[in-house]
Amino acid sequence: MKRTWLYTLLAAMIVSALLLTACGGPQPPATQAPAEEPVEEPAEEPAAESAARKVATFIWTQEFDTLNPYYTNMWFSAITQQLWNAWAWDYDDQNAPHPVLVAEMPSEDNGGISPDGSVITMKLRDDIVWSDGTPITSEDFKFTYEMVVDPNNAVASTYPLDLLVSLETPDERTVVMTFEEPFASWQATLWHGLMPAHIMRPVFEAEGTIDGAAWNLKPTVGCGPFVLTDWESGSYARFVANENYWLGKPKIDEIFMRFVPDDASQVAALKTGEGDLGTFIAYSDIPTLEAEGVNMITVFSGYNEGWYFYLDPEKGHPALQDARVRQALALGFDRFSLNEDLLLGLTEPAATYWDNTPWVDPSIEPWPYDPERAKALLDEAGWIDTNGDGVRDKDGVELVLTYGTTTREIRQDTQAVAQQQLSEIGVKIELFNYASDIFFSSYGEGGPAATGANDMFEYSTVPNFPDGDTSEWLCREIPSDESPDGINWPAYCDEELDALFQLQVTQVDFEERQQTFYQITRKIFEEALWVGLWQDPDIFAIGPRLKNVKLSGATPFFNIQEWDLTE
């Protein structure tokens, strides 16, 4: 008798939790339109017709933190923007820009770029509207600019809008941006998303900030081919076709985004058909997915995996100060068989940080595997094994280097292979792995890469793809106790290189700028300041049901309105 209450209680708890979770979300696809949603799509479709709806399921291994494009650095949030919040212009699968919000790309010829390159004028299309029907005007651009630079808004990045001297809107269709200096990277960096002034301005006026605006997390008004209807944290986000999209209503009715944080379950879900699209697929899973009829597409978005060395003249390992030692390390590691075996031949060894962009000197070939030349270079540099312990040394310092990276499997495997191969040329390597959030912590937070806790590091970062600009090698970015936020983690300062980087930022002329970058890439390659391992493309798995899929590196879903589902 005593125990019955316990059972009753437990049963009641389970039932109520079940009801809470089941009823907490909407009962799709009969999506009940939230109150603030004025115009809405086939919301009250009866359940019987639901089978006719084309629902594509995307699997995201990371959930976006926020959907406001200016409040996030997350790649998953950025690529999701292609669905619901248009950029001023997209890039196609050849990384060529084509206009979306603007009528045509600004150029010197059409007067969009001033001769000195410091003023850019955008002409907006006439037919652009928010998904609720409100026209998109220059006012939305001006409002977005003001919000990004306002100190009350903790946006993720103010770049590049903080470089603007002014933003003028002479009329509803024209946006004039004036920069202090010619701004070379404008095309790749400007207008990655737009905020609807008619929704956000009242919030800002009421609260003094848009940090807490409901639209950030639930932007049911957007300007892409799809529009968000709901987002349940940890579970899913649902996008339905935007009837008002000016480039044509999408063929797919609904995109259901499922958040599956685990790689292995993502693969399983792709195999069971619970997902039609996935990304961030481990190389090792590619063959089995292909065997299940899943299409694998690789697109380059500028990432190249490579070795960084800690080059601080005082705190770094003395051997690494010598370019010959760095070259020997590059020559002593066989990145070709690494690509062939561990990466299954799906990618190529990287030569420079700018591989697969227009900025790399095409004459540069990756370092070959030549252990003999590596040994000769080390001998030449004075690093010889004097005590017979199998490890080279000089002036009593052993050539023992510590090699740190994150815990990603392919990186750990690379470490193991590199350790063995470099030991064959007399370099002893000790391996370290860090959780990635710790690995990438800043100098102020004691991050190992930022503070030079190890001698060499493996990771990949990206210039502003498809632009080539980066501030990673600038002298002023060397982190120190005074400037703990610096991102020049190799702590490398070379006046010539610094000047070249400063120069390319202002070169609006493509060819001139390309030449500057050729100089940069050649210098970094020849001095082995950065040693490429492999080109690290984004890998998408496209389920057999999806058709017409094209992907681009910078804006993957540029043609999503043309995608279709077949049964």
């Binding site: 090792s284 899973d285 075996d341 495997d413 792995n433």
Partner: protein, 310 residues
């Protein structure tokens, strides 16, 4: 009715010491003997195997031979960079066995001490110890491990045991696991003590003048041995798994050194495609834990005179 109607032969058992009796009871326990034998074999496998394969061999990569199923030359197959899994389970076993057994021991010692003192003395000491326990419990182990990873990451000196240098300090891992996992046992032991100390045999011991530590450790503790043994057994499996995670956070055994735990972690993406990556280390862990459980079972029976095992 119980002891009265014994046969004369039964009554004539030669006098034995408590220890002899325990051994007698333990010996009759076949699964426990199997467990002891198995543990000895596992130790021989891990430590004796080192005579057949060098550590360098265990870490030799050959990317051309990656993910080979069991075959001649590689009876357990090869891993993702072509290392021999047999040799790696041998070297991994050394670390995993040391960590699994000693970390569980540390955990047990701390847990028993805290629980026994809190349960026996009660009052203020109990309050203080239990509040500390609650505070420790409130911090998830995962969280503590991440914080410690940040503090210790890459700073732990090497340790040489039996002529072998263990990358990363095994002692630090053992202490970390021990320090972050004793709370369950402490609560269990305390509960047992709260109940057992009210028994008259405790009063009897006090009347005799038996010192307190003897009452705690010789009178009460043996009576709460059953859950302690279970906890210690489960602790071994826990420690082997936690070690892998600590290493994963960059605080523990540094790659390319193998442990059973990190070999299992490395098999993550190959559960279906390359099952030999996990079958062998997995079986070894299961065998270890099972053997310890059987030994524990036998020990429990040997220590419990009322058990019906014999």
């Amino acid at each position: 009715m119980v002891g009265v109607s014994r046969s004369v032969d039964d009554l004539l058992t030669p006098p034995l010491t408590l220890r002899q009796l325990m051994w007698l009871r333990f010996r009759r326990h076949k699964m426990a003997l199997f467990g002891v034998a198995m543990l000895i074999l596992l130790v021989i496998y891990s430590f004796g195997g080192a005579f057949f394969f060098s550590e360098a061999y265990a870490n030799t990569t050959n990317t051309k031979m990656r993910l080979q199923p069991p075959m001649a030359g590689h009876p357990f197959g090869t891993d993702t960079v072509g290392r021999d899994i047999l040799a790696r389970t041998i070297y991994g076993g050394q670390i995993s066995l040391i960590i699994g057994l000693t970390a569980a021991l540390v955990e047990t010692i701390i847990g028993v001490l805290v629980g026994a003192l809190a349960g026996y003395y009660g009052g203020l000491l109990d309050s203080v110890l239990m509040r500390v326990t609650e505070a420790m419990l409130s911090v998830p182990q995962l969280f503590l491990l991440i914080v410690m990873a940040k503090f210790f990451g890459g700073q732990i000196p090497d340790l040489t045991v039996m002529g072998r240098t263990f990358s990363g300090s095994v002692i630090v891992i053992i202490s970390i696991i021990g320090v972050t996992s004793w709370m369950y046992l402490a609560r269990i032991v305390r509960a047992e003590f709260l109940s057992l100390k009210e028994n008259e045999f405790v009063l009897a011991a006090r009347a005799i003048g038996t010192p307190r530590w003897q009452i705690i450790f010789q009178h009460i503790l043996p009576n709460s041995i059953a859950p302690i043994i279970v906890s210690a057994t489960l602790g071994v499996a826990g420690a082997i798994g936690t070690e892998a995670y600590i290493s994963f956070l960059g605080m523990g055994v540094r790659p390319p050194t193998a442990t059973w735990g990190n070999m299992l972690d490395g098999a993550y993406n190959y559960i279906e495609t390359a099952p030999w990556l996990w079958i062998f280390p997995g079986m070894l862990i299961v065998l270890t834990v099972l053997s310890i459980n059987f030994v524990g079972d036998g020990l429990r029976d040997a220590l419990d005179p009322r058990s019906r095992a014999t």
